[in-house]
């Protein structure tokens, strides 16, 4: 898996939860500044598990607040599975 495919998938997923065009979802901005909240965070957890096969905590988006930091955190775990 390349980091880029994970990053692009996260952009699409987040844009979907927030009903925003993917072009408005920057990978360096804090997700909460886009309106991301605990309900969206729960959706992201489920979708990461289904798409990438890794279990993550619902607090993921608070511990790693941007898409880029989530990629850095998740990519090694995904590569191991």
């Amino acid at each position: 898996m390349s980091d880029e495919s994970l990053r692009a998938w996260l952009v699409d997923a987040v844009a979907g939860y927030l009903e925003l065009p993917p072009s408005q979802v920057g990978t360096e901005v804090a997700l909460r500044s886009l309106g991301f909240d605990s309900v969206h965070a729960m959706g992201l957890c489920v979708d990461i598990e289904e798409r990438w096969g890794v279990l993550v905590e619902p607090t993921l988006a608070w511990d790693f607040p941007t898409i880029d930091t989530i990629v850095t955190h998740l990519a090694p775990q995904i590569d191991r599975t």
């Binding site: 979907g16 939860y17 927030l18 009903e19 925003l20 408005q24 804090a30 909460r32 500044s33 886009l34 309106g35 991301f36 909240d37 605990s38 309900v39 965070a41 729960m42 959706g43 957890c45 489920v46 607090t59 608070w62 607040p65």
Partner: protein, 559 residues
């Protein structure tokens, strides 16, 4: 009127059951008869330890044990105090401490799985093997407090609404009238039992109406909303409830493949309440699930609040939502003018006042206004709570007794038209996000705790018809601080996001920007106007796209 406890006790049915569908584990079930027996055992134990008339804090996960304990409290004449389980985060543990202090509870009940983790609170499990036959009915009358309904977490003083046996019974009877000629048969849902709509609208309604009850946990449904629809379909549920966000999130998250085999034709009441109702949400839900038998007429918008036990008005079964459009200018001016033009703003009616009387008044004078004029919604009738626990001043200010009876000042704005109640905004400072009440002072407190250089703050809600309600914080950065305003904003927002799980927009301002009254009270409404009119000079701001759109729209109408 026979009170809730006496009526349920008279005929607990062996052919009606409560089912909990836990995530990934087998379903748990109790018949109403078994529930009654267990509750009597709990009541005997509570009475034996002198808890009659005293508050008992109930900290339970979603499941059947909560209902046993709650009913046991009512059977014993103890005052039940439902609260969320304090599982993570220091602030939540603090909140339980404040609830114990405010309610005066000296007994904390929980389930087996949590008794160790809650040992710091001396939490105990109930013993349901005690002899239920020694139970004797408690001495309660209509004015006896049955339970305290605390609204969501306040860092400042928590506010416990005192719901009496009389008001509870009246509100449950009101549900029967909303149901119409067809009594509810199977109720299903996932709202937490410490939320008024989950407690009264799901659990107690099922017992009172002799209906089956199917319960899921909020976490399970938010993670995979198909579970909610699947439970409705599998158990032939005819009545469910949710805040607007539940319908919106489910519409968005359920995929086509998941619809296979689903049949929602059994559902004739899908109540929407507890937060502003968006017509776009109702339309999208009805369209999305029409192919699996969902009928738009099932959608039943309602209006209520804990101070009225739960429901004030609700669309009756079978009628479907009433939607009317009004000119934007007339809504802004406070005298609504219906229109069929494309730029009309559609509003959803919340039903017709019936047994609870509704009056709309000029908030400044208290004088009743005519149909179509926006004012404060006031409510009277037997569902009104006794007041706020231990706070006579707040009780007097909110429940006003005059020559024409006792009226609740709801703090909500709206109007009456052709018999329907429409809710348009809020006078009080409470912010409601996803059906959850947030107090501005809690958000301000969290911001101050995040950074030593955080000065005064003002939090408030902004909303529009399309995207619902959003939190905005205007936050002063202290003069002595050398900090970068962007970093400062990030630190404050991180802290709030972690604590409350909501998205907040922030405007960082210089000291002495946040206005307050001479008595030191933050003027949140004034700060909100300044924000919306573009009248704030920001050192830095981070607005969510939805809030940015509201500001743009607001500035355009003011030009």
């Amino acid at each position: 009127m026979t009170d809730f406890v006496t009526r349920f006790r008279a005929h607990p049915r062996s052919d009606r059951k409560v089912t909990h569908l836990p995530d990934g584990r087998p379903a748990a079930e109790l018949t109403h008869l078994e529930l009654d027996r267990k509750a009597r055992a709990v009541a005997c134990r509570l009475t034996g330890s002198g808890m009659a008339g005293r508050p008992v804090l109930l900290l339970y996960p979603a499941g059947l044990d909560f209902l046993v304990a709650f009913l046991g409290c009512l059977y014993a004449g103890a005052v039940a105090v439902p609260a969320p389980l304090p599982l993570s985060g220091a602030s939540r543990v603090d909140r339980v401490d404040r609830l114990i202090e405010d309610s005066g509870a000296r007994l904390v009940l929980t389930d087996e799985a949590h008794v160790t983790v809650l040992s710091g609170l001396s939490a105990r499990t109930f013993d349901e093997t005690a002899a239920p036959d020694s139970w004797e009915p408690p001495e309660v009358d209509a004015d006896t407090v049955a339970y305290l309904q605390y609204t969501s977490g306040s860092t400042s003083r928590p506010r416990g609404v005192e719901v009496t046996h009389g008001s509870l019974t009246h509100n449950l009877e009101l549900f029967g009238k909303i149901s119409g000629d067809v009594p509810v048969r199977r109720i299903g849902g996932w709202l937490p039992h410490h939320h008024d709509m989950g407690l009264v609208g799901l659990q107690l309604q099922a017992l009172h109406a002799e209906a089956d009850l199917v319960l899921l946990s909020p976490e399970a449904v938010v993670a995979r909303p198909i579970r909610w629809l699947r439970a409705i379909s599998d158990h032939r549920v005819d009545w469910t409830v949710s805040p607007d966000f539940g319908y919106a999130w489910t519409t968005r998250r359920v995929g086509d493949a998941e619809l296979d085999g689903l049949d929602l034709s059994c559902l004739t009441m899908a109540v929407s309440g507890a937060e502003p109702i968006r017509i776009a949400t109702l339309d999208a839900f009805a369209d999305r699930f029409a192919s699996v038998g969902f009928r738009r007429t099932a959608l039943s918008p309602g209006y209520g609040l804990a101070e009225s036990t739960l429901v004030v008005t609700c669309t009756s079964r079978g009628l479907g939502p009433t939607v009317r459009s009004f000119t934007p200018a007339s809504l802004a001016a406070g005298e609504v003018v219906p229109t069929s033009a494309a730029d009309g703003v559609p509003l959803v009616g919340c039903g017709e006042p019936g047994d609870m009387r509704v009056r709309v008044v000029d908030p400044a004078t208290g004088v009743e206004v005519g149909d179509g004029t926006i004012g404060e919604i006031r409510v009277a009738g037997p569902s009104l709570a006794a007041g706020y626990h231990g706070d006579p001043a707040a009780t007097r200010a909110t429940f006003v007794t005059g020559p024409d009876g006792r009226w609740l000042r709801t703090g909500d704005l709206g109007f009456l038209l052709d018999g329907q109640l429409y809710v348009t905004g809020r006078l009080k400072e409470l912010i409601i996000v996803r059906g959850r009440n947030l107090y501005p002072q809690d958000i301000e407190f969290s911001a101050r705790g995040a950074r030593p250089d955080a000065g005064r703050g003002a939090a408030f809600g902004v909303r529009d018809a399309d995207s619902g309600e959003h939190v905005v914080l205007v936050q002063e950065l202290r003069r002595a601080s050398q900090a970068d305003a962007g970093e400062f904003a990030d630190a404050v927002l991180d802290a709030i996001a972690k604590q409350f799980g909501v998205a907040v927009s922030i405007v960082v301002v210089r000291p002495s920007t946040v206005c307050h009254t001479t008595s030191g009270k933050v003027r949140r409404g004034h700060m909100r106007e300044l924000f919306l009119d573009g009248g704030l000079s920001a050192l830095h701001s981070v607005l969510t796209p939805a809030v940015a759109a509201i500001v743009t729209a607001s500035e355009e109408t003011h030009v």
